[in-house]
Amino acid sequence: MPKLSDTMESGTILHWHVDVGDDVSAGDVLADIETDKATMELQSFDDGTVDQIIVGVGDQVRVGTTIALLVDEDEVDEQEVQVIDAPPNVEEAEVETADEPPVASPPPPVSEESSSRGLRVSPVARRLAEEHGVDLQTIQGSGPSGRIIKRDILQLVGATVETTAAAHTTVHGSETKVVAQTTSQPSIQPLAPVSPWQENRTEPLSNMRQIIAQRLVESKQTIPHYQVTMSFDLDPLLEMRTTLNEQLATTGVKLSVNDFLVRCCALAMARHPEFNASFGGDCILYHGPVNIGIAIALPAERGGGLVVGSIRNADQKSLRTISQESAYLSTKARESGLSVDEMADTTFTISNLGMFGVEHFTAIINPPNSAILAVGAAVEKPVVRQGELAVGHEMSATLSLDHRVIDGAMAALYLKALKELIENPASLLV
C-alpha cells in the first residue's frame, strides 16, 4: 500500500483493475484506492505479471502492507513469492454470527466469540480490553506473532475516550438477553414487527467518515460560528433559467439553480474580497482566486458521506462552464471519487438542500473557508410585491461565518450584494 498523500496512514482497495495472471506495464492502473482524502488510482511502478492479489476489495490496510505481488515475466518462480500477512478481515468475522437466529437458551455473548477468534491476545490484555470496551480486532499486537499485549491496550486506552465503547458493550450485552427472553416462551405470539428487526451493530469508520468527524469537530469547536439569514425573490432567476434551458436544450446545456448560485456567490465575493479570506492565527489570509466549493452528497452504496468539489476561479467563468464543471464534479464524485486536486483550495462553500424541500438550515464552515452558504428550497408562497399580495417563489439562504474574519455588518453587505445578483439575474449573463 503506497503512501498516496502526505497524511495517508492506511488505504482501502475500492476496485482492482487487474486480475492474477494479467501482464501489466509501468503506468498501468492497478487499483482504485480510497485514502483519507480521496480516491486515487494506483499505477504500476514496474512491468510484470500479477502473481497474487493479497488485499481484497473493501479491505483497509496500513501503508506499507503488501497488497499484491508482481513478478518479472521470466521468473514465474514460486520461491520469489513472498506472502505477507494482511490484517484479519473484520467484516467476515462479524457477519458470521450476526445473522444467526436467536435460540431459546441464552446464546453466548456474540461479540466476544466472534471478535477474538484467531487472535493472539495475552490474558491480561484480553481482560483489559473487556474492561475498557476495546475491540481486539482493531488492534495490531506488538508482541511476538502479533500477540496483543497489555501495553497495546494501555496505550490505546490512554489515547482514546474509553467510555463510549464501554457503554456500547453493555448495551449489546443486555440486547442479547432481551432477545433470548422473548423467544424462550413460544406460547406468546408477539405481533409482527412494523419494520424488520434491526440488530445493534458496529461498523468501523470509513476513511471519509473519520475525516468528516475530525474536520467538522475541529471547525465547530475552534471557529466562532454565527449565522445570518436572508430571503430572496427567486422568480426572476427561475424565469431566466427556464428560458435559457429551453433555448439551449439542443446544446445539451441544462443549468441548475445551484449553477446560478455558484456564479452569484462568486461575483459577490469579487465585490467583497474580505469574504475570500481565511483566519491565519495571527493574521488574515486574503485569497486571490475565488474558488467556490460545492458540497456533494455521496450515495450510500459508496459509503455515503460527502465531499466538496472545487470550482476554481468561479467569478471568471460563465454559467455554462460552471454548469459543466459542476455536473462533472458531481458525477465523478458519486461514481469514482474526486482527486485531491478536484477538492482542493476552495475559499467559500455552498451547501444546497433545496432539492429535498428543506426550507432552512445552517451549515458548519468547511475550513479553511470563512463562510458557507446553506441554501434552502425555492418555495411558492404568498409574497408582497410592490405593495400587492402575490404568489411567488422565495428562497431562504443562511450564511455561517467565522467571526474572527467576518463581522455581522460585513455579512449583511455580502448578502445584500448576493440579493442584488440573484434578483437581477441579467447581470449574471454579462
Partner: protein, 332 residues
C-alpha cells in the same frame, strides 16, 4: 567477635551457629551431628566452638556414612530427641535418600500419627565452585517433590538465624539448604532471639513491571539483574520465597497480579522443578493477570560442568535473568 549493639553485623555461618546454640541452650533434646562438626569445628566452621560449649554428647563427629548417621538421627527423633544433621554437602545426602525420604518424611503418616520426626537436615546445596558434576547438586526440586517434609532456603544471615530456629522448633522434618557461596556474606543480625515463620515470602525489592521469584543464592543475581533492568526502565519486584515447602504462593501471586509478568529463578534443573511448579501454580491462579507466560531461569539441563567458565554459563546468572525479564515484558 560479637559486639552488643543494635547494628551488629555477622556472617551467615555465625548466624547459623547462633541459631543452633540458642536452641541447644533452650532445649536439651537438641543436638548436632555430622562429619567434622565437633573437633574440626565444622568443615565450613559453622559449628566452631560448639564442642567446647556443649560437649561431645551433643556435638557428635560421625564417620563418613550419611545413610548410617541419618538413620540413627531419625531414630532419635522418633524417640523424642530433636537432632540437627549436618551434611557437608547435600550432594552427599543422596546416599541417605532412603532414610531421609522414606523414613523421615513419611514417618508421621506411616505410623498413623504415633511417631513424628522433628529433625533438621542442613548443609551446603548447589554449586560451591568447580566441585564438578557429582558434588554440585541442587536437591531442592528433587526433594521438594516428596510430601511430608518442609524445606527452607535462607538468603542472608538474618534469615539464616530466624529460619533455622523455626526449623529446629518445628515438629516435622525440615530440609535446610544453605550455600557455601553465602557462608561468608554478612548482614545485620540481632543478638536477641527471633524466629521467621515458614511460608512467608519476603519482597526484597519493590517494582511494577515484572516479578522475579528466587530462593537462596540466585537471589543475589536476581537483585543484580533488577538493578541493571531498572536502568533500562524495567521495574522489577524481587521476591525471596524463603521456604519452598510451605510455599508462599499468595505473596507471589499478588505481585504477579500487579506486574502481569514473572520470571522464576531456580538453581535446580528445569525439568519437573520448583520453578516449573511455581510457574504452573501462577498460571492457574493469575491467568487473567498475565501478559506473558511465566518465564523460568534454571541451571542448564546438563550435569554441572567443572570448568570455571562453563560452570558460570551453566548456573542462573544476571545475564540469563535479564534476558528472561526482557522477554517476559516484551522488551527483548
Amino acid at each position: 567477635m560479637t559486639v552488643a549493639t543494635n547494628n551488629r553485623v555477622i556472617e551467615f555461618r555465625d548466624a547459623l551457629r547462633e541459631a543452633m546454640s540458642e536452641e541447644m541452650r533452650n532445649d536439651k533434646r537438641v543436638f548436632l551431628l555430622g562429619e567434622e562438626v565437633a573437633q574440626y569445628n565444622g568443615a565450613y566452621k559453622v559449628s566452631k566452638g560448639m564442642l567446647d560449649e556443649f560437649g561431645p554428647k551433643r556435638v557428635i563427629d560421625t564417620p563418613i556414612s550419611e545413610s548410617g548417621f541419618s538413620g540413627m538421627a531419625i531414630g532419635a527423633a522418633m524417640r523424642g530427641l530433636r537432632p540437627i544433621v549436618e551434611f557437608m554437602s547435600w550432594s552427599f545426602s543422596l546416599v541417605a535418600a532412603d532414610p531421609i525420604l522414606n523414613n523421615a518424611a513419611k514417618m508421621l503418616y506411616m505410623s498413623g500419627g504415633q511417631f513424628g520426626c522433628p529433625i533438621v537436615f542442613r548443609g551446603n546445596d548447589g554449586a560451591g565452585g568447580q566441585l564438578a558434576s557429582t558434588h554440585s547438586w541442587c536437591v531442592e526440586s528433587m526433594y521438594a517433590n516428596v510430601p511430608g517434609l518442609k524445606m527452607a532456603i535462607p538468603y542472608d544471615a538474618y534469615d539464616a538465624k530466624g529460619l533455622l530456629k523455626s526449623a529446629i522448633q518445628d515438629d516435622n522434618p525440615v530440609f535446610f539448604l544453605e550455600s557455601e557461596r553465602l557462608l561468608s556474606t554478612t548482614c545485620h543480625v540481632p543478638e536477641e532471639e527471633y524466629t521467621i515463620p515458614f511460608g512467608k515470602a519476603l519482597i526484597r525489592r519493590q517494582g511494577t513491571d515484572c516479578t522475579i521469584i528466587g530462593f537462596g543464592r540466585p537471589l543475589h543475581f536476581c537483585l543484580e539483574a533488577a538493578e541493571e533492568l531498572a536502568r533500562e526502565g524495567i521495574s522489577c519486584e524481587v521476591i525471596d520465597g524463603r521456604t519452598i515447602r510451605p510455599l508462599d504462593i499468595d505473596t507471589m501471586a499478588a505481585s504477579v497480579t500487579k506486574t502481569s509478568a514473572c520470571v522464576v529463578v531456580d538453581q535446580s534443573w528445569p525439568f519437573a522443578s520448583v520453578g516449573s511448579e511455581i510457574a504452573s501454580q501462577l498460571h492457574a491462579i493469575c491467568f487473567e493477570a498475565l501478559d506473558n507466560h511465566v518465564h523460568r531461569v534454571h541451571s542448564d539441563d546438563v550435569p554441572t560442568p567443572y570448568a570455571y567458565n562453563l560452570e558460570q554459563a551453566y548456573l542462573p546468572n544476571k545475564r540469563k535473568i535479564c534476558e528472561a525479564v526482557r522477554s517476559a515484558t516484551y522488551n527483548a
